[in-house]
Symmetry: C2
Subunit: 479 residues, 2 copies
């Protein structure tokens, strides 16, 4: 192809050869004898230094070489005489592709706030922090595909536009081509969706799980990895209206197999990132250390980013039942001292403060909680013989809380149908889902992982809007 990326060049090009570097100016520095231009092309966090002798470049050219301008530089790759880089390019020729007026270009070589950068999400990938995040995001996505491919799973593209609601809950976005002002109405004054594009009311999917189960009951092991949507009007640092989910579903897996898979999966992809994104993670690690220094001592993390990732991949996750966890929580110091905001007792849904106590204080390890009360979990989870709990599992991570939620699925047609009726879901509406239990049913299990939660954890960022290129949230759909 037309050029060698800076990543390749720093890795493989021998000094003494003539090279062409194409990239954007990060900084320009002039000394008495020379001009130093730091170029970055996005392939790596590292810049390459291009050096011209003082007076070598015409003044009008030099004036245009400002932060953000795009150049092609040709010259000899030589050992660098300065500190900070092994090699540099001795400029023979410069072509300016595009300038960046310093009075107008928003990304100047100074510290910009994450809030400001969110407003210019179309340019923020040109910064060190966001290019590092996006390269790590790529590596994690590839690791996900590689993991499942290596382990005999088939990638299944479940539908994005759907007429069903997997969870029987969750606010959804309507998808329509009907006239917005005057939709056609039925005789009783309701919108006549039979005239809509799909001939029925349709929404954006909240989960590919139900269709994923159809795949697993035919192909054995499948996974989805696609966008999902929640129309929840909440502006938090943990929620997006549009996010990417990974949902494996496996025939013949029971709860323990599911836990083994979840633990092995998440460790493998984090290990991949550590192996393939060392430069970017080191950069984010030190970025986080700087940020931590501005916090009060008691709010600072005990572990740095790299230490935290190493910690997760090198420890066995603790596994215990919800009931055992409630015991621990009820007898904990914060419970006895009334320090939990939400009271804890058997039957309640655990709050973030409880999950974090278990993970960060009590076990100091990632935790897998299982066998939750059926009342607080979805209808499709397999019921335990005691009639009280279901074969659910949540994987809890330090700092982030729940990163994976899953279960063995109810494979008994009668129990599943009865449970649907109890929670108010019409079995007829999911006739196709029930067919998998009607014909050739089998034990099976699966889980879901919000991809941005994983990227958040691996990059150490604090706001989920900073780990997806173009976040979608209430009142936010620019770009």
């Amino acid at each position: 192809m037309s050029y060698q990326s800076i990543q390749q060049l720093l890795k493989t090009a021998p000094t003494g050869t003539e090279v062409t570097v194409k990239g954007w100016v990060r900084t320009k520095r002039e000394s008495k004898n020379a001009v130093f231009i730091a170029l970055n092309d996005g392939s790596t966090i590292n810049t390459i230094q291009a050096v011209a002798e003082a007076g070598q470049l015409p003044e009008e050219t030099l004036k245009l070489i400002t932060t953000g301008a795009c150049l092609a530089v040709t010259g000899q790759l030589v050992e660098s005489q300065g500190a900070g880089q092994a090699v540099e390019v001795k400029i023979a020729n410069v072509t300016i592709y595009g300038t960046a007026d310093p009075d107008k270009y928003p990304l100047q070589p100074k510290r910009h706030s994450l809030e400001f950068l969110r407003e210019i999400a179309h340019l923020r990938p040109r910064t060190n922090t966001f290019s590092a995040i996006l390269r790590i995001r790529h590596a994690l996505a590839f690791a996900v595909h590689k993991y499942f491919n290596d382990n005999g799973f088939y990638y299944l593209n479940t539908p994005i536009i759907t007429a069903s609601d997997a969870e029987g809950a969750g606010e959804m976005f309507r998808v329509t081509t009907l006239d917005a002002t005057k939709p056609p109405l039925t005789e009783d004054g309701k919108v006549d969706y039979s005239q809509d594009f799909f001939g029925r009311e349709t929404n954006l999917t909240v989960s590919g799980q139900l269709e994923g189960e159809l795949g697993a009951m035919a192909l054995g092991k499948i996974y989805t990895f696609g966008p999902t949507f929640r129309a929840e009007n909440s502006n938090t640092t943990r929620h997006l209206a549009e996010f990417w989910m990974i949902e494996p579903e496996m025939a013949f897996y029971e709860l323990e197999d599911n836990m083994n898979l979840a633990e092995d999966f998440v460790k493998t992809v984090i290990r991949y990132a550590l192996q393939h994104c060392a430069d970017d993670l080191t950069f984010l690690d030190s970025r986080l250390k700087d940020e931590e220094k501005t916090k009060k001592k008691e709010e600072q993390s005990e572990l740095g980013l790299l230490e935290k990732l190493q910690f997760v991949i090198s420890n066995e996750f603790v596994r215990l039942t919800y009931t055992e966890a409630i015991d621990i929580l009820v007898n904990s110091k914060p419970a006895k001292k009334g320090q939990f905001q939400y009271e804890v007792s058997w039957g309640v849904d655990l709050q973030s403060e409880h999950e974090r106590y278990l993970v960060e204080k009590h076990f100091k390890k990632p935790v897998i909680l299982t066998n939750y009360p059926r009342e607080i979990k979805a209808f499709y989870m397999k019921q335990d013989p005691d009639g009280k709990t279901v074969r659910a599992m949540d994987v809890l991570f330090p700092g982030i809380g729940e990163i994976i939620g899953g279960s063995q699925r109810e494979d008994d047609l009668d129990k599943l149908t009865a449970r649907m009726q109890e929670v108010g879901i019409e079995p007829e509406a999911l006739w196709w889902y029930l067919d998998t239990r009607r014909f050739g049913s089998a034990p099976h299990a699966g889980f879901g992982l919000g991809f941005e939660r994983l990227v958040l954890f691996v990059t150490g960022m604090g706001n989920i809007r900073d780990v997806i290129p173009f976040p979608r949230a209430p009142k936010t759909a620019e770009f």
Copy 2:
């Protein structure tokens, strides 16, 4: 994990060991001395034969072992005495997970029409044809990610919900949470989208290209691979309302680099499928041969499926300009004999019949056409110095026509803005897109490939609804 897939087992298990096979019954056959059960678990197109001696299994068990039932079979793996398989399982124990009432289960061991199977898309992955298609689809998707990862591209998740229309055309699906019957109105009687979830009118994306370009102008080389949508009310064998697109965008690539990439990319992923899906492709190859036999001689393909794939990867694509192609077409036999349905002259958009003539009759090779008239191409394509053509490229394949469309992108801010105004796109609406030309612009290029078109080509299927698990089309959103 809890079991070995049939694919692993056939590949690695030594005869003499005790194995457990879990899967669905494809067929059951009884002879005087034995019962033969063909089991499939979706991991491979191959079944494994499980054999019991006559009388070994209780009558009530045997009765439940029908096509579609799900079993676990334990026994010794032995060399098969019958033809058709190398090994088989000598049944010691059978567990029936789920039955499939032969009077109700729709998938009986006989030939079902593709139309019928489309109506039971939730069960069709349990057939040989559809499981083969879905495994090949998986392999192609993985090959796409692997190709780009191996070549220094970063995967970029461009937004699905968007306030912009990349092509300045294309029917779109509206995404909304406003009350469908009585939406809030502005004073002049229009829908007040400022009250909608995103505070503005939003639609499902028709392409990630424009946001992809933002990525390329920061990270160098990116690709998207996600769902895109067209609300076109056309029921054809070539169009879906929801389909998956692959869109690489590369800084510093010009038209020729773009062609080199497209050709290398598509050959590499097809080669991957040939290497990794031999059994499935062989099955589809013979399926297609059977289908061809039912056609009239003159309508039969010259090449079988495997031959066609080999042909594409082993030939250099022919490259010529649109203008040269028009010359060939104008002077062709069908043009002179008036056999083209649409007349051909410089300036017209080529029809499928013209593309197929070039590929299948004239060159008998895949073709890349370049430098189309600017009037028939999108506003963002780089204008040639002649003022008439743009640096577009379309890759044309036998049978399928256009499989890839791309171009070098216009990187000159003034030319791009002028062209937008000519075609009626408000530059202000795409301020963020124009910023990439305003700040640090550079030559760049990219292309788009409809993933289902690729799967259609590689599987040899005739209807695009058969190469995606759950097709979305007018009046079609079941499952």
